[in-house]
Structure formats: C-alpha cells, structure tokens
C-alpha cells in the first residue's frame, strides 16, 4: 500500500520488488527495469493520489507491474505522456521530482505499457517486461 503524500516511504515497494526478483535470479536488466517502473509509479501515487497499490505478478515469460490508485485521475493521458509535461506541486518539485518524465520513463522501460484513468476516481497503470530478450548487461 502506498499512501498519498508519504514521501518518506516512497521507494519501499520497489525495494521489495527488487529483493523478490533477485531471489528468483532474474537477469539484472529485468530487475532494474522493474525497480524503475515501480519506483516511478510509487512516486506518482505519493505525489498525486490519495492511496494506491503496486502489484507484481511473475509469469513464465514476463513480469507484470501494476499501479492502481484512488485519486484525482489524469484528465488528458496524451498530454500526461509528453516528456516534460507536469502538474507537480511546488513541494514535489522541491524534492527533485516533477520533471514530467515519470510516465515516459515507465513506458520506455516497459515492453508492453497500458494506462487508463478516470477523473476523480483514479489511475490504473500496467507495465510488463519480457523475460526473453532482456539479458544481463
């Protein structure tokens, strides 16, 4: 569970995901992408939503990371996906976030990326990483 505005614990979900994926010996590149996707997702929830969850599903040929939140939602997904576009608060920016790269980063680290959102309800992000073709550095 990731709680809105709780910046002190943002990053713990991605650390847990990293630990689990290391235990099952996935390639470093896959682990790195998964950690980045979940971390950016956590930061998004903490910055914009009331609360949310990060879910990791491990399948034989890919892993799926989902970030499901309850919050303000995103009115214009196309705009939100543009590099550099951000509605981050001053507080979020002061911490070094809000460069408008979060969703682009998540997309670039995913093999399959899907996002849906409803205003005043929340956002559901799905990112999957293929296990084949992602080899160690």
């Amino acid at each position: 569970m990731v709680i809105g505005d709780d910046f002190d614990h943002a990053g713990e979900a991605s650390r847990n995901i990293k630990t689990i994926l290391k235990q099952i010996n996935l390639p470093n590149d896959v682990i790195r992408k998964a950690a980045l996707i979940s971390y950016e997702s956590e930061i998004n929830i903490v910055s914009y939503a009331r609360k949310g969850i990060i879910r990791l599903t491990i399948l034989p040929d890919h892993i799926l990371i989902e970030a499901v939140d309850e919050g303000q939602g995103i009115p214009d997904l196309e705009l939100a996906m543009q590099p550099g576009w951000s509605t981050a608060s001053q507080k979020v920016r002061e911490m070094g976030f809000g460069a408008g790269m979060g969703l682009c980063n998540i997309k670039s680290f995913s093999d399959i990326f899907h996002i849906s959102s409803e205003v005043d309800k929340g956002t559901h992000l799905k990112a999957s990483i293929k296990l084949k073709g992602n080899t160690d550095d």
């Binding site: 910046f7 943002a10 991605s14 790195r32 971390y39 911490m95 070094g96 976030f97 460069a99 682009c104």
Partner: protein
C-alpha cells in the same frame, strides 16, 4: 578509479561508506532532478548531485548507483544519512560546485554514463 582516489581529487568528506572506498567506478552522471536521474543515469555510475532529501538515496538504490557525490557544500539530513547507511550506499561530500566536480573527474578519466540522450 577507486572511491578513495575520488575522495582525494575532490577533497571530499566520507559521510557514509568509510569501509567501501575500494569501490571502482568508471562513469558518472549529474542531475538535480530525480526524474532525470532515473531517465539517464546508468547502473554502477557515480551520481553527482546537490539533492539532499532521502529520495536521492532511494533513487540511487533503485538504480544500483555506486556512490553519491554531494556537491556545493550541501549537507544530508540525519534521516538521509541513516537511509544511506541502511541501504549501504557510499556518500562523499565536497565543497566544490558540480561543474568543478565534473571537470576534475573528467580530467582524471571518468566519463559520462551516456554521452547524449538516446545513445548508449
């Protein structure tokens, strides 16, 4: 180049990781925005920054960054130091501004983690 040598070049103080000065690094990235760190800094690099909040340490952990170089005389809060200790990420602090840090390390052979956006 070992962190020990980087410490000397930058006249830096070891904030975390006194026992890890034998870590070997070849590349570095500079950013003062975490989103940019996440986008452009690659594993094993040095992260040169002026950011002092705990998220910079979390980010370094997510990216498997070798060490954080904190520039322009900035200080980590006790909370940030504690997190770096917990996650075992070396932190060196120096009074040099980021431009000087980069110039001094480049002159000694450290290179950018990527040269240009889009390149490897």
């Amino acid at each position: 180049m070992y962190l020990r040598e980087i410490k000397e070049i930058l006249d830096a103080e070891v904030i975390v990781g006194q026992d890890r000065l034998d870590v070997d690094v070849t590349c570095a990235g500079v950013a003062d925005l975490i989103s940019d760190v996440l986008a452009y800094v690659t594993p094993g690099c040095l992260l040169i920054t002026g950011l002092t909040n705990p998220q910079v340490v979390r980010t370094a952990d997510v990216l498997d960054i070798s060490a954080i170089i904190l520039g322009r005389g900035k200080k980590f809060s006790s909370e940030t130091v504690r997190l770096a200790e917990e996650l075992n990420i070396p932190v060196l602090a120096t009074d040099y501004i980021l431009f000087e840090i980069v110039g001094r390390l480049y002159a000694k052979g450290i290179r950018g983690c990527i040269e240009k956006v889009g390149s490897k």
